[in-house]
């Protein structure tokens, strides 16, 4: 049929008068596109861990001096690192798109007298800020400004 859920999922506080069949997860659990998207979203956590470790390693190299920094930058040309960064890029875009759509409705209705702007305004603003920060950082790191 389908995968069992946790044996105590939605269990009653006291046993009922008759034997019950154990709870099952939906039979579409692994195949439904929405569930796959959700699991991928959680799986990007692994990517975020890895990119952080890598970036920390790179900054440590920067702290050690020009030789260490040049060596680590040269290593980024290796196909494995390029493939990893493509995965990272796809991951952050995927996370951004999903998170930006979920963010507006999770905002509190009011903080004291302050009320948040309408949901679609927040949604659009998130994209604007993301593009602005990305453009700014790209221009900065690529040497197009300053």
């Amino acid at each position: 049929m389908s995968r069992p859920a946790h044996p105590h999922a939605m269990a009653p506080h006291k046993p009922g008068r008759t034997r019950t069949a154990p709870p099952q997860m939906p039979s579409t659990w692994w195949s439904a596109p929405r569930i796959r998207n959700y699991l991928l979203f959680d799986a990007t956590g692994i990517v975020y861990y890895l990119i952080s470790f890598l970036a920390i390693g790179m900054i440590q190299a920067l702290g050690r001096g020009p030789e260490a920094w040049n060596a680590v930058m040269a290593r980024m040309q290796h196909p494995a690192y390029i493939a990893f960064h493509v995965l990272c890029f796809v991951s952050v875009v995927f996370v951004a798109i999903r998170f930006f759509s979920l963010f507006p409705k999770a905002q509190p209705k009011a903080i004291g007298p302050l009320k948040p702007p309408p949901g679609n305004v927040i949604h659009a603003a998130l994209y604007v800020v993301w593009f602005a920060i990305t453009a700014g950082m790209t221009a900065l790191l690529a040497g197009w400004i300053f």
């Binding site: 975020y48 900054i59 950082m137 790191l141």
Partner: protein
């Protein structure tokens, strides 16, 4: 373990939230240039030569606010908390609720150690 996690959960959620929000926004440009454009030769490597990279990382506003280090610290540290929280969630998705306390402590512990090391690396520039 789980009782301890319950106590600090609000703080973790805040860090995780910023990891997703600020971390994602900062990471995009970094991945693009450092991970793809420069290694693929589409941007000249001199853009992030040691001298320029170091200058950017230690840049300060009005000689007082260390913007470079602040942005870098955020970029290094915040994604760790997003990573920890979501890997923990993935573990529960695959039926790991029984060991959630231990796994959670380990994952957040890794994020904490990474944060300390990351901030140390930035401060030491």
């Amino acid at each position: 373990m789980r009782a301890f996690l319950l106590k600090i959960e609000p703080l973790i959620w805040l860090l995780f939230g910023q990891g997703i929000l600020i971390g994602t926004m900062l990471l995009t440009g970094w991945i693009l240039v450092v991970g793809l454009l420069i290694p693929l030769g589409m941007v000249d490597a001199s853009a992030l030569s040691y001298d320029r990279a170091h200058a950017l990382a230690t840049a300060s506003l009005f000689g007082v606010v260390p913007v470079g280090k602040l942005v870098l610290a955020a970029l290094l540290v915040l994604p760790l908390w997003k990573g920890a929280h979501h890997v923990r969630s993935l573990h529960v998705d695959f039926g790991g609720a029984e060991r959630d306390g231990v796994v959670g402590v380990i994952l957040y512990g890794i994020a904490l150690v990474g944060s300390v090391v990351g901030i140390g690396a930035v401060v030491g520039l």
